[in-house]
């Protein structure tokens, strides 16, 4: 199964959404995924793919497409420094 199908399957399962709801171009906001849901999905992806998703990459995952892209690059061991840079400049750090 390709990465995109697996991501869609996991997001659908973790959000308890009806099959077919999650598409490649769905944003987390559209799917009602809040910050806590987001870390839950990350956890499920890490478990599924047996990987660690760096925080900087995780911060940039706000849509299914971004998850698929980030995950693909982590899986292929590609350079993710541009994603890190985007995360640092773009999204404000989560506050607790």
């Amino acid at each position: 199964m390709d990465v995109e199908s697996k991501v869609i399957e996991i997001v659908t399962r973790e959000q308890h959404l009806p099959p077919g709801t999650v598409k490649r171009n769905s944003t987390f906001t559209e799917l009602g995924i809040d910050s806590l849901d987001g870390v839950n999905i990350l956890f499920a992806l890490e478990e599924e793919f047996k990987i660690d998703i760096p925080d900087a990459v995780a911060q940039n995952m706000k849509s299914v497409a971004q998850v698929v892209d980030g995950l693909t690059r982590v899986l292929e061991g590609k350079d993710i420094s541009d994603l890190v840079a985007i995360a640092k400049s773009g999204s404000p750090a989560a506050s607790h």
Binding site: Q15, H16, L36, V39, N40, L42, F43, E46
Partner: protein, 407 residues
């Protein structure tokens, strides 16, 4: 607001316990002496010397919550939400948008999300997991019930949890009383929830040597104040009450179950806790006509509680009915004070005092009226409910019939 503060009343009752999943069945079972204690079914208790507990029977979470919501709810938060829903329904309260900042939730728990934490630790230590689920924290934290209830009802006032073992509910309800009395809020859902029936908790309590055995006959294992008592039975559940400022309740035509008129909170001085509750209520000891005892059923608790009642109430101690409903619903830890206040308020409202079940024979040192085995029809105008916690932290709550003409 006068210097004395505002009058606070109880306008909603909700309970989820081994002896009943709503207040009517709960009180009916208590009055009829039916025990909720049975062999543990939540896990295989065979390795334990004590294999019984007061579990909520036949509980199916998906009857109450959608799957997505359940992901975030430990059993103790599920119970708190279920009880709170009954409380809100019984109150008829519809909170208006502008009232939300005056609406709060104070829910105690002794053990918190111990079921989630237990299974997390098991996967970590026994199965070699290297990470825990990100929902572990929001499920385990003691304030989860207060958070989830406040979200469900969009309460935007003061909300928090208290944790004082067996007195957690008593402190929660006492704090709620004072928040309303002194003007910080107008409506508060207050009580407690605990679901400590796990292998780890049973093992922990087992070694304290305070649990009743009685595996062969669970229903009669807990025998408070009886000469042959041998300990408490672990329980679980939730008890939540709606506390409301009297003027607010009256203005909306609410059914008022009782006035909550005093709380006594002390460390290590149980007699003074009772005296402080009386003092706040401005009542004499001889005006109390029912005591819902802490009454755990351990040899020591019941003896000292008897002595304390004698010390505070003097001659009246011989005339005031005292009962321990823990004989039936077990010791639900941080929930027990909320569950017992529901029982106390219903006794006051209906003029029926639930009995101390399983009373076999009197202990010469416990020689008061413990309402043995049979419920008693008797008008109750004022009552106290005692919670004396492990660690010496006490909370005594006092309720009375609302006087029709008093403002």
């Amino acid at each position: 607001m006068s210097q004395d503060g505002r009058k606070v009343v109880i306008t909603g009752l909700g309970v989820f316990a081994s002896t009943g999943k709503d207040r009517e069945s709960f009180f009916d079972n208590l009055v009829n002496g039916r025990s909720g204690v049975r062999r543990i079914s939540l896990f295989d208790p065979s390795p334990l010397s004590v294999q019984i507990a007061a579990e909520v029977p036949d509980y199916n979470p998906t009857d109450y919550f959608p799957a997505k919501r359940l992901d975030l709810l430990d059993r103790f938060t599920q119970f708190a939400l279920i009880a709170a829903r009954e409380t809100m329904e019984s109150s008829g309260l519809e909170v208006r948008e502008e009232e939300r900042p005056r609406f709060g939730v104070v829910v105690g728990s002794g053990m918190g999300g111990v079921q989630t934490f237990d299974s997390g630790c098991y996967s970590l230590y026994a199965r070699g997991a290297t990470r825990l689920h990100p929902f572990t924290i929001p499920k385990v934290m003691h304030n989860a019930p207060a958070s989830q209830i406040s979200m469900e009802y969009n309460a935007q006032g003061p909300s928090f949890s208290t944790s004082t073992a067996c007195s957690s509910s008593g402190h929660a309800i006492g704090e709620a009383l004072h928040l309303i009395k002194y003007g910080q809020a107008d409506m508060i859902l207050a009580g407690g929830s605990d679901t400590p029936i796990t292998m780890s908790m049973m093992r922990s309590w087992e070694s304290v040597r305070v649990l009743a055995t009685g595996n062969g006959n669970p229903a009669s294992a807990c025998r408070p104040f009886s000469a042959d008592r041998e300990g408490f039975v672990m329980g679980e559940g939730a008890g939540i009450l709606l506390l409301e400022e009297y003027g607010h309740a009256r203005a909306r035509g609410a059914k008022i179950f009782a006035e909550i008129c005093g709380v006594g909170m002390t460390s290590d001085a149980t007699a003074r806790a009772i005296r402080l509750a009386l003092e706040e209520a401005r009542m004499r000891p001889d005006e109390v006509d029912y005591i819902n005892a802490h009454g755990t059923g351990t040899p020591l608790n019941d003896l000292t509680e008897t002595e304390v009642v004698k010390r505070v109430f003097g001659e009246h101690a011989r005339h005031v009915p005292i009962s321990s409903t823990k004989s039936m619903h077990g010791h639900a830890m941080g929930a027990t004070g909320g569950i017992e206040l529901v029982a106390t308020v219903m006794a006051l409202e209906r003029g029926i005092i639930p009995p101390t079940a399983n009373f076999t024979r009197p202990d010469p040192q416990c020689d008061l009226d413990y309402v043995p085995n049979q419920a008693r029809e008797k008008p109750v105008s004022a009552a106290i409910s005692n919670s004396f916690a492990f660690g010496g932290l006490n909370a005594v709550l006092m309720v009375r019939r609302l006087k029709a003409d008093s403002d």
